[in-house]
């Protein structure tokens, strides 16, 4: 029984026409059908957050959504963060503050943090910690991830003020 559905996924502003079974999760479709392997799969049951992407303006677990449910909604993945060779401020901050070691959880943390800072650039430390507690990292002990996101928060805020001024 093959009951594939034709759908279009808009990822980082680009349309991808794919044909997938309804049971295919969004993360599998992103990786296998759209060949965007920056988004990682960890636990596949919503615990680790490695597969976090931004769908319709919200950071979500892409292993807990079926691809068919993301049709018509803008999807953002880690591939869309840098512009050309210029890394996103958060990516630079993760490098500067050693916010990664093996890098497996990094795309998920980046999308979670980007979404959080874009929605609330003035987010307080306590709330930020609560948001970041959503994802797992087995290398860093979290402190440098928190440091990196806090530094990016200041960086992105200064830039906004510069633009506004």
């Amino acid at each position: 029984m093959s009951n594939k559905i034709d759908l279009t996924l808009n990822i980082n502003g680009q349309d991808h026409a794919v044909s997938v079974e309804p049971r295919k999760t969004l993360v599998d479709a992103i990786r296998e059908d759209c060949a965007l392997t920056g988004t990682h799969i960890g636990c596949e049951h919503g615990v680790c957050g490695a597969c976090t992407v931004i769908v319709g303006g919200e950071a979500v677990r892409s292993c807990l959504m079926f691809a068919v449910q993301a049709q018509g909604k803008p999807i953002r993945t880690v591939e869309g963060l840098a512009s050309g060779k210029t890394l996103h401020p958060l990516q630079r901050s993760f490098m500067a503050h050693h916010g990664l070691q093996c890098g497996f959880c990094t795309p998920g943390f980046l999308m979670l943090a980007v979404n959080t800072l874009e929605k609330n650039p003035a987010i307080g430390d306590e709330e930020l910690l609560d948001v970041l507690s959503s994802n797992l990292c087995r290398c860093t002990g979290y402190q440098n991830i928190i440091l990196a996101v806090k530094a990016a928060r200041e960086d992105m805020r200064t830039k906004e003020e510069a633009v506004a001024g």
Partner: protein, 286 residues
């Protein structure tokens, strides 16, 4: 770790949803709302529904409204909708304090209030709130029409409810708490966002300095959340203070029949129940 095959249905109206459920529920058809519990269960292949009726496109289910002194929460309303108070009174405040305990932010923007109620995990925060406030569950199907099920009859056991096959939990109604109602919530879990070992919800009003309209419910500790009249009775007609809160905690500890699992023994869970009842009361009083 990949869900088994199923047929996908995406209705856009309640009528269409009920049609699909009438047709497919007996062939192992299920409602897909936020999917934050159902999809992992499918990934483990503990659930292998043949049909999924996805209600995310049914916009008439996305509403929260106040009607006849009740907060009516539609089947499509996400947990995150409660992060800012949905209502100016004590109920809005209580729901906003509870929602912070539900999983993590990316889960809260997908998972739904009614989905949690229908799933009826013993450790669900919304189920404990529903039990505490005597919520009404509005179930609807093509065959039996609309039924209103009170919370005390709705939760039957671990992930078991009074919902019939083919019924959609269309909305949950919570009574608006009168101005001046004291409301508090407390839960204990080992990790941020993890399932709670036990939680408690407490609400009361003060009449001449004495507690009345006492509601205390415990969740996570037993197979299903429920009010504990033994603990409520301890407090009625007394002034709120730490000593009497401790007596209520003790009564709750005695009254529960806790889940006993290999990692958390029944006795330990009883102790947590006691502490959570005290903390919920303290939070209500503050």
């Amino acid at each position: 770790m990949k869900p088994a095959q199923f047929q996908y249905h995406a209705p856009t109206t309640i009528a269409e949803t009920l049609d699909l459920l009438a047709r497919y529920a007996q062939d192992d058809g299920r409602v897909l709302a936020g999917g934050q519990s159902l999809v992992p269960t499918m990934a483990f292949r503990l659930a292998r529904p043949k049909h999924l009726v996805d209600i995310n496109g049914v916009s008439e289910l996305n509403r929260v409204r106040v009607e006849n002194g009740r907060l009516c929460i539609g089947a499509g309303v996400r947990h995150s909708a409660f992060e800012k108070p949905v209502e100016d009174g004590p109920l809005g405040g209580l729901l906003a304090s509870v929602v912070r305990h539900i999983a993590h932010r990316p889960i809260r923007v997908r998972g739904t209030f009614c989905g949690s109620i229908a799933h009826a995990d013993p450790a669900s925060e919304w189920c404990a709130v529903a039990a505490a406030l005597d919520a009404e569950m509005v179930a609807e199907s093509k065959i039996s029409g609309t039924r209103v099920i009170p919370a005390r009859e709705f939760f039957e056991g671990i992930m078991t409810t009074a919902l019939h096959e083919g019924e959609l939990l269309r909305e949950v109604r919570l009574p608006i708490l009168p101005k001046g109602t004291h409301a508090g919530f407390a839960e204990y879990s080992r990790r941020a966002g993890d399932y709670a070992i036990a939680m408690a919800v407490a609400t009361y009003r003060l009449k001449n300095g004495m507690m009345s309209d006492m509601h205390i419910a415990v969740g996570g500790a037993e197979a299903a959340p429920r009010r504990l009249p033994e603990a409520e009775r301890t407090l009625i007609g007394r002034p709120p203070n730490f000593g009497i809160f401790q007596a209520a905690g003790h009564a709750a500890r005695q009254a529960v029949d806790p889940i006993d699992d290999p990692s958390i023994g029944a006795d330990y869970r009883r102790g947590i129940v006691r502490a959570m009842v005290i903390r919920a009361l303290e939070s209500a009083a503050s």
